[in-house]
């Protein structure tokens, strides 16, 4: 009798453990699961990406008022047209010193923001291009759509293009700060020599 019981008891414990694991592991991935005191987790303060009924457009992340500039921000007073492009070419010069730190930073920024299309070596052969995006011209061998060779692009012309975009390329002003843009400009000058 006792021998029989032992087997039964072992069996029952095994089944109950398996069942408890099953019950707890079968969680619905579309739900957050059980919550205790959720008011401590869903906070009252608004996060930047959250909806916000206090603003007319319902967003927490508001566009700064017109004409305001952040602290430490350098303005780029060349309009987004051919005239602005040409005058930026003559007037705008890279304010950052050409040192190793800036070059390395520029390389990382270039690889993160530009290389998907322009390619690691600036030949216009990035992975996005191989997936069907129209190829940009090579920095060292291509021709600019606004005349001249790509390898002759000046500081101001490259900066103008990053800021406003051109043709199929969009503006990178929201992703790169002015400082970062100048670092990228310095690295693009290196790619023009390849």
């Amino acid at each position: 009798m006792l021998a029989m019981n032992k087997i039964k008891i072992l069996g029952i414990t095994a089944i109950s453990i398996a069942a408890s694991i099953l019950v707890t592991s079968c969680r619905d991935k579309r739900s957050t699961g059980w919550e205790y005191a959720p008011n401590m987790y869903r906070h009252i303060a608004y996060d930047p990406d959250q909806a916000n009924p206090n603003f007319a457009d319902g967003k927490t992340a508001q566009v700064p008022p017109k004409g305001t500039i952040p602290v430490g921000f350098t303005r780029f007073d060349f309009p987004n047209d051919r005239g602005g492009y040409d005058s930026a070419s003559v007037v705008a010069k890279n304010p950052l010193p050409a040192n190793k730190k800036n070059f390395e930073d520029g390389k990382v920024l270039y690889e993160h923001f530009c290389s998907p299309c322009h390619g690691k070596t600036g030949q216009g052969d990035g992975l996005v291009v191989s997936h069907g995006y129209p190829a940009p011209p090579s920095y060292s061998k291509g021709q600019s759509s606004r005349g001249g060779a790509m390898k002759d692009l000046t500081d101001g012309k490259i900066y103008h293009t990053i800021t406003y975009g051109v043709n199929a390329m969009g503006s990178y002003a929201s992703q790169l700060s002015p400082q970062e843009r100048w670092k990228v400009v310095a690295y693009v000058h290196h790619l023009q020599t390849l």
Binding site: M1, L2, N5, K8, I9, I12, T13, S16, I17, A19, S20, I21, V23, T24, R27, K29, R30, S31, T32, G33, W34, E35, Y36, M40, Y41, R42, H43, I44, D47, P48, D49, A51, D57, E111, H112, F113, P116, Q123, G124, D125, L127, V128, Y133, P134, A135, P136, S138, K141, G142, S145, G147, G165, N167, A168, M169, G170, S171, S174, Q175, L176
Partner: protein
């Protein structure tokens, strides 16, 4: 450049036959080679033009098909500004229509090259107008057989099941008949009545066994206890949470296959507390040009009030996309992305898991306090070449030299120490 042209050649091989055939049979006024034209088109024109819709310049399919004067087209493509300067009425009209954005001059293209491009554009437009009709007629035909197949299969399975059931019954009755014939009929009825009585008696016997009852209750208690223990540990923990997002954005495609760096979209992770969900202008960097036909991309267009045919934005129609937040820390825990990514040099994947393989993002880490503390205990801090810790090492050197260390030296005068 050679690489690109090779790629285009590979792609063009597949299109070559169709394009060639349509061009031969239809386009009487274009003697160019559409296959050659395609190669040139993809190398020179795609940055500003698409065949079917407007980009920077007009949609080339309808534009070139409607324009029958090839000599004018060749002149325009080689040097449009010369035509505008010469006050050609057609040229001036389209120049003004497109906000006086000059088209790049292509003096390197010969007349034959331009004829090839024109032939390609006309062939593509022809395919588009014909293809549009084909698609509509093909669509139901494509879904027709597949649903028929499924229903057919289900029907076959159901019929097979019924046949098996019937056969089973027949076999049973036949066996009984055989047994009857042999006079070996087993009286099933008395046994059926006897069984439940026996079972109940067995259970009653077992219930009287105190040891067994004790063990059953103990096992039940252990099972319930372990279940509630695990459940309590998992309460408020969202690991594995994978909500349905408003747009089916795939990290597997963008970050995995195309290897676009995380920072491209989540640029806030390097600069601020919040890693930031990219604003839609970041999507539009690429999707103004590619995948413009996808219904998922059209959700972006709708949210921006963007008209892909005209290429214009109507901000009055814009409405933000409401992404569902996956990773959420309670308000009493402060977490800063830039501190971890820039100062600590932590890879995104350490906390977010193999994000580049997720076609749909889920919460990889538990984000519990235990999990945070575990990493903070194990991670060795890299002081060398890390500007964030310069002041700290400087203060330590001062202490070693026996100098006076004030709060100001340790950054105590920073505004945000008090005004946060």
């Amino acid at each position: 450049m050679r690489n690109i042209s090779l790629l285009f050649k590979q792609f063009s091989r597949t299109v070559l036959l169709l394009a060639g055939l349509t061009a031969l049979t239809t386009a009487a006024n274009a003697q160019g080679d559409p296959a050659k034209g395609e190669t040139i088109f993809k190398a020179k024109c795609t940055a500003c033009h698409k065949i079917e819709s407007k980009l920077v310049g007009p949609a080339l399919g309808p534009q070139i098909t409607s324009e029958t004067d090839d000599a004018y087209l060749i002149k325009w493509i080689q040097n449009s500004q010369a035509l505008v300067a010469a006050k050609n009425p057609k040229a001036v009209k389209i120049y003004n229509e497109y906000n006086q954005i000059p088209m790049t001059a292509f003096p390197e293209l010969s007349d034959a090259d331009v004829t090839d491009i024109i032939a390609y554009a006309r062939a593509e437009q022809k395919k588009l107008t014909e293809g549009g009709g084909d698609k509509k007629t093909e669509a139901p035909a494509e879904t027709g057989p597949s649903s028929l197949l499924i229903w057919g299969l289900i029907g076959v399975i159901v019929i097979a099941f019924i046949v098996i059931l019937v056969l089973n019954k027949v076999i049973g009755t036949l066996e009984r008949l055989l047994l009857k014939n042999k006079n070996l009929v087993i009286d099933e009825e008395p046994e059926v009545e006897g069984e439940p009585v026996d079972r109940l008696a067995g259970i009653k016997k077992l219930a009287k066994n105190k040891k067994l009852v004790f063990f059953v209750v103990l096992c039940g208690a252990i099972a319930m206890g372990s279940w509630s223990w695990v459940t309590m540990w998992n309460t408020n923990m969202h690991q594995g949470y994978q909500p349905v997002q408003p747009i089916k954005y795939s990290h597997e495609l963008h970050a995995g296959a195309m290897k676009i760096d995380c920072q491209y979209c989540h640029s806030g992770a390097y600069k601020s507390k919040n890693a930031s969900i990219p604003s839609l202008n970041v999507c539009m960097n690429c999707h103004k040009v590619v995948k413009t036909e996808s219904p998922e991309i059209h959700k972006i267009y709708d949210a921006l009030g963007y008209d892909p045919d005209k290429g214009t934005y109507d901000t009055t129609k814009a409405k933000p996309i409401q992404w569902v937040r996956i990773h959420n820390l309670p308000d009493f825990a402060y977490f800063n992305h830039s501190q971890h990514v820039v100062v600590g040099g932590v890879k995104c994947q350490q906390c977010h898991g193999p994000i580049e393989t997720m076609s749909e993002v889920y919460q990889y880490s538990p984000l519990t306090m235990k999990w945070c503390i575990q990493c903070h205990k194990r991670t060795e801090v890299n002081f060398k070449g890390n500007a964030y810790y310069d002041k700290m090492t400087q203060v330590h050197d001062m202490i070693k030299k026996g100098q006076k260390v004030s709060a100001a030296v340790m950054g105590g005068l920073e505004c945000s120490k008090c005004h946060y």
